[in-house]
Structures are given as structure tokens and as C-alpha cells.
């Protein structure tokens, strides 16, 4: 499958008189394939927003190579910008303009057909409030308006920075359904988010960054599997004896409140057969699979930023 975003060795250092030098991107790599929903994850200040802004031509990189929809950017950005919808960080709009006015101005500037405005308002569930002034909107409604503005161009690639920010649970679910629908229609979605449960539910692949570098990327299942330590939770009547048997058989085991945690094991049937041979029968056997949050915390903690660095 063709890559719609390719970034290699992206570097950016901010220099200010007050703060001195801050290396925001330190040779970052990123690749997103067409038709995917891709999660772009990392702790605060790791360079996610800088990466997205650099990709979209808002920030100039010090070095590195970027391609969008098969074209080198920023040189070819004017040619590909029409196919990219993006919201970067918290959306802000003129408070005295209505959602319809805001979208109409953007549509006029971008040469987008007028009927598209009603379509995107409907897609994000703002049709009823389209005539109201933005200053009366909740954060979630502003977020929907931002997504609507990004969808106006009928993009091939949609880049969303924290789209679920400010949304209530129902709004998050609607946003998730919207993104799934877009992906199903062939739109590639790149999603930066802190809500890792959401990312795990809707993303096909993820890139995890820390301190301006990529530390892990790939399909979600593959990323999770890479951090799978083969741990199983075992409940058995005589847990002390069971622990001795498993340990004597060569496996690593921890006892936590009458529960055994068996580690570094590929095949869980080994536990049942080993204990059954000693007439101990398993009451519960649960594989402890890592979720995206634990993977994220494990990976980003290992390259945690020193105190005082943004």
C-alpha cells in the first residue's frame, strides 16, 4: 500500500533568548499508509504538534525529508494542500461568526462548492446550531466545527490533533464513528491523541514518539505484541503449592494476594497440564495482554525527558 506520509530524519531546534535551545525534533521518522487510521502518540512536548505543523508548512524544519501524498513538501505543499484537511491543536474561531459563516469563508477562500458546507455540518452534528455564534459554543462544539472545517475540502488525508479534546463520551463515540466511516470511504486519518483507549479502538497502526524521535511504530496488534511478556493470571485452590510446582518446572512466577502471575510463557496450556499432573486444577487462567496505555507508558518512560525540558 502506498505511503501518504513519509518523514525521514526530521529535525527542528527552537532557539529563544529566554529559554535558549530546545530540540523539538531529533531525527524523527514517520510513515503512514493510505486508507489507515493512524495514531500518532507521545507525551506532552515530545514533538507531535511540531511534526504536524512542519508537515503542513507552518514550521520550517532544520533538516529532514518529508513527502505528502507522494510529493516532496514543503515545496509541493500548494499542490497537495487541497487534498489535506487538518486541525492543529485547539481550534479557535472568531467568536462573533456563526459556524456557517466560518465555513462559508473557508469554502470561498478554497473554492469549495457551497453544498459541501451543509454536508460537513451534518457529518459533525452541527446542523441545528449552524447559525449560532461560535462564542456560545462549548469546547466540544468548537472541536466539531474544527473537524468540519478540515472535512470541507473532501480530503484524501485528514490530520487531526487531539480531536476528542473537550468532547463528552457521546461526542467521543460520534467522532470515533465518523473517523471509521471516513477510513472506510478511503480517507487516511492521522490522529494525535492522549486518549489511548480511543486510539486502540479505532487505529489500524500507531507511531509512538518521545523526545523528538520515533520509538515504536507499526500495526496496533504488532505494537502490543512486541510488549507482550507472556504473563498469565492463574487462580488455583492451593496457590503456594502451585507456585512451587510451576517454579520447579522452570517458569517464573509471582504470588499476589493468592493469585499467581506466571511470566514469560508462550503456551498457557503448559500451566494447566503441569498443575493437573500434580492434581491441582486451575479455577481461572487469564492472559495479561498489554493495552496501548501500558505500552505507551513503558516505552515513553524508558526515554523520559529530563526534568525542566519541555
Amino acid at each position: 500500500m502506498a505511503a501518504v506520509i513519509e518523514i525521514e530524519g526530521l529535525r527542528k531546534t527552537y532557539r529563544t533568548l529566554r529559554r535558549g535551545e530546545h530540540r523539538a525534533l531529533d531525527g524523527l521518522d514517520l510513515s503512514v499508509e493510505a486508507g489507515q487510521v493512524h495514531g500518532f502518540l507521545g507525551p506532552n512536548g515530545c514533538g507531535k504538534t511540531t511534526t504536524l505543523r512542519t508537515l503542513l508548512g507552518l514550521i520550517k524544519a532544520d533538516s529532514g525529508r518529508m513527502r505528502l501524498l507522494g510529493r516532496d513538501v514543503p515545496a509541493a505543499l500548494p499542490q497537495v494542500a487541497g487534498a489535506i484537511g487538518a486541525i492543529v491543536e485547539s481550534p479557535q474561531f472568531f467568536p462573533n461568526f456563526s459556524a456557517r459563516k466560518t465555513l462559508t469563508l473557508l469554502a470561498t477562500a478554497g473554492g469549495v462548492r457551497r453544498s459541501r458546507i451543509d454536508e460537513v455540518l451534518d457529518m459533525v452534528g452541527l446542523t441545528e446550531r449552524a447559525g449560532d455564534k461560535v462564542k456560545g459554543y462549548s469546547l466540544g462544539m468548537k472541536q466539531r466545527l474544527a473537524v468540519a472545517s478540515a472535512l470541507l475540502k473532501e480530503p484524501e488525508l485528514l490530520i487531526l490533533d487531539e480531536p476528542a479534546n473537550g468532547l463528552d463520551p457521546a461526542g467521543i463515540r460520534e467522532m470515533r464513528d465518523l473517523m471509521r466511516g471516513l477510513a472506510a470511504s478511503g480517507v487516511t486519518v492521522v490522529l494525535s491523541s492522549h486518549i489511548l483507549g480511543e486510539v486502540q479502538q479505532i487505529c489500524d497502526s500507531v507511531t509512538i514518539v518521545a523526545r523528538g524521535k520515533r520509538i515504536m511504530s507499526g500495526p496496533v496488534e504488532q505494537v502490543l505484541a512486541s510488549q507482550d511478556k507472556g504473563e498469565f493470571r492463574v487462580r488455583v485452590a492451593d496457590h503456594r503449592r502451585a507456585a512451587e510446582i510451576i517454579s520447579a518446572a522452570g517458569a517464573t512466577v509471582d504470588v499476589q494476594d493468592e493469585i499467581l502471575i506466571v511470566k514469560e510463557l508462550a503456551d498457557p496450556s503448559w500451566i494447566t497440564s503441569t498443575l493437573a499432573a500434580h492434581e491441582l486444577y486451575v479455577a481461572e487462567l487469564t492472559p495479561l495482554r498489554p493495552d496501548l496505555e501500558s505500552v505507551f507508558l513503558t516505552l515513553t518512560d524508558s526515554v523520559a525527558a529530563p526534568v525542566g525540558v519541555r
Binding site: L56, I59, T108, G110
Partner: protein
């Protein structure tokens, strides 16, 4: 073209711009109302009445002079009484002391002389429009930065310089439209004032042409002010940056510089003040006199002042360079700086 249309629409939809236009209209309305109601048409009745009052006043003066009341008495105790030979008529008495016969004009109400008023009224209009244009330019781009609208726009239109130039063109088009619309109304009001409360005596083709050219120079100055506000707010990425710069220029560049240069005994302080060039531009030329050298001069008799004449050509050069540097700097910064 799409972007231009969108930017004009965005500008026209801005609440701040609408409020400033309303305030501008109100201000012009107040000035016009003051002008209209403080002048009167000189009708034959008014003239006749004034002539009667002038004659009455002359008669009173003659009587007073003849009786000696002009030179003292209870109202003017202690004033030396000039010698008025006996047998003089009142008229001869007044001639003796050099008093003129009152003119009927002295007793007439003020009337609107189109020829005299049109030039200063065009200049006042231009100066007020300059303030509006500066604010409009500053808020147009400043609010875009602070609201995130500029970033949003650049995501749609990544070519930065064309975006900024289109915005500037949209601003200038809108300012020109406001100038033309209000200018037409202002001209009509001046015409009506002359028609109803004054006269068009002495108005020649030359007077009208001169007023038209002053209006054209005012329009250019207004466009320059809008671009200046736009460029400074673009550099500072805030409307407040332009307002701060304007305040700073007024306090430091005008008042402060005037004080310091005066203390340094610089001849023609005005040469270093931007306001002098603005005045010279609107009035075609400004002449300044300096008597500074007279204090140290050994010349006996009258000391003639040194003069400095600033023409509109000088002004075009100075104001043009200031504008070009500011707009050029804004363009360069807009192209180079990160949008964070």
C-alpha cells in the same frame, strides 16, 4: 480571486470594523451638524437687518462722540478726554479720532463659504479616515493571528506571501470603498451646507480641482495608514502591537523627540517629525520658520526668520520609505517565521 472575495467578506463581517465605521459616521455627522447649525444663509432680509444695525451703531457712536460720552464719564473714570473742538459734528468727531464706520458684514451671522471651507473639510475627512484605516488594518490581521484564523488559512493556502498580499489588497479595496462612499456623502453634505447655509461665490474649476486633488492625496494617505496598521500588526501578530506602536510613535516620536530636539537647540525640529510630512502631504506644502538664530545674531534691527519648506514631494519620499520598510519587514517576517 476566491481568497480576495473571502477576505473582503471576512473584513466586512468583523464586528470591530462595523463599530469603527459607525463611530466614524457619527463623528463626521457631529462635525457636519456643528458646521451646518453654526452658519446661516445671507438673505436680503438678513443683509438689510445688518445694514440697519450698522447704521444704528454709527449713529450711536456719532452721538456719543459729539456729547463726549465716548471719552469718559461714569463708565470710564480717569480716562483722559481728548480735545474735541466745539462745534464738530458727530461724524467729524469720529473722523478726528480715526474710528471707522461699522460695516454691515460685522452684524451678519457666519455664512458657509464653500471656497474657503472645502479644503480644510477634505483634510479633516482624510485625517479621520486615516485613523479608521489604521485601526481596520491592524485589527484585520491582528485578530486573525490571535484567533488562529491565520493558521487555519495557511492550512488551506500554504503560499504565504500571496496570502498576505491578497489580505492587504482586500483591506485596501474595502478602505477605498468606505472612503469613496463616505467621501461622496461628505461632499454632498458640504454642497448642501453651502446651498442652505452659505454660498458658492468664487468657486471656480480650479477650486474644485484643487479640492479633488487634496481628496486624492487624502485617499493615498488613508491607504498608507491602513497598510501601516496592517504591517505593524502583522509583525507583532497582535492588534495591540499596532496600537502600541502608534502610541509609542505619538509619545516618543512626536512629543519626546520634539522636547529633546528643542533642548538640543536643533533648528527646525519639524524636519524630524513624521506629522510634519503628513501635514505637508495633505496641504501640498508646509512652511516652518525659526527665530533660533536671532538669539545669537548681532544683526541690528529686524531679525528675519530662517524658513523650511516641506513639499508634498518630500513627504511622498519620507512617508513612502517608512511604509515600504514596514511593509517589506512584515512580508519578510511573514515568509520566514514559524507559525506556532
Amino acid at each position: 480571486m476566491n481568497l480576495f472575495k473571502a477576505e473582503v467578506s471576512r473584513l466586512a463581517s468583523r464586528r470591530f470594523i462595523q463599530i469603527v465605521v459607525v463611530l466614524l459616521v457619527l463623528l463626521l455627522g457631529v462635525i457636519w451638524a456643528g458646521l451646518f447649525f453654526s452658519h446661516q444663509k445671507i438673505t436680503p432680509e438678513v443683509r438689510q437687518n445688518a445694514e440697519t444695525r450698522a447704521t444704528q451703531e454709527w449713529d450711536r457712536l456719532k452721538a456719543d462722540c459729539e456729547s463726549g460720552r465716548l471719552f469718559g464719564g461714569p463708565d470710564m473714570p480717569g480716562k483722559p478726554r481728548p480735545e474735541v473742538p466745539s462745534g464738530m459734528t458727530g461724524e467729524e468727531c469720529l473722523q478726528q479720532i480715526g474710528m471707522q464706520k461699522p460695516k454691515a458684514e460685522w452684524f451678519m451671522p457666519s455664512t458657509f463659504d464653500f471656497k474657503d471651507y472645502v479644503q480644510p473639510m477634505v483634510i479633516i475627512f482624510g485625517v479621520l479616515l486615516c485613523l479608521f484605516a489604521f485601526l481596520a488594518g491592524a485589527t484585520f490581521v491582528g485578530a486573525e493571528w490571535s484567533s488562529g484564523g491565520m493558521m487555519n488559512l495557511l492550512l488551506w493556502r500554504p503560499r504565504r506571501i500571496p496570502v498576505l498580499l491578497t489580505k492587504a489588497l482586500a483591506l485596501m479595496a474595502a478602505v477605498t470603498a468606505v472612503f469613496a462612499a463616505l467621501g461622496a456623502v461628505w461632499t454632498l453634505l458640504l454642497y448642501l451646507t453651502a446651498k442652505l447655509r452659505g454660498h458658492f461665490d468664487g468657486v471656480t474649476g480650479g477650486v474644485v480641482q484643487s479640492a479633488g486633488l487634496t481628496g486624492l492625496r487624502a485617499l493615498l494617505l488613508v491607504l498608507g495608514a491602513s497598510l501601516l496598521g496592517f504591517a505593524v500588526a502583522s509583525l507583532g501578530r497582535r492588534t495591540a502591537a499596532a496600537l502600541g506602536a502608534a502610541l509609542g510613535l505619538a509619545l516618543i516620536g512626536e512629543v519626546g523627540a520634539r522636547i529633546v530636539l528643542t533642548l538640543l537647540r536643533v533648528t527646525f525640529v519639524e524636519k524630524w517629525l513624521l506629522s510634519s510630512y503628513v501635514t505637508a502631504w495633505l496641504e501640498k506644502k508646509s512652511t516652518f520658520e525659526s527665530y533660533e538664530h536671532c538669539a545669537t545674531s548681532n544683526t541690528v534691527g529686524e531679525c528675519k526668520p530662517l524658513t523650511l519648506e516641506l513639499t508634498m514631494n518630500h513627504s511622498a519620499l519620507v512617508l513612502g520609505v517608512v511604509l515600504a520598510l514596514t511593509v517589506g519587514g512584515a512580508m519578510y517576517a511573514f515568509q520566514k517565521r514559524d507559525v506556532t
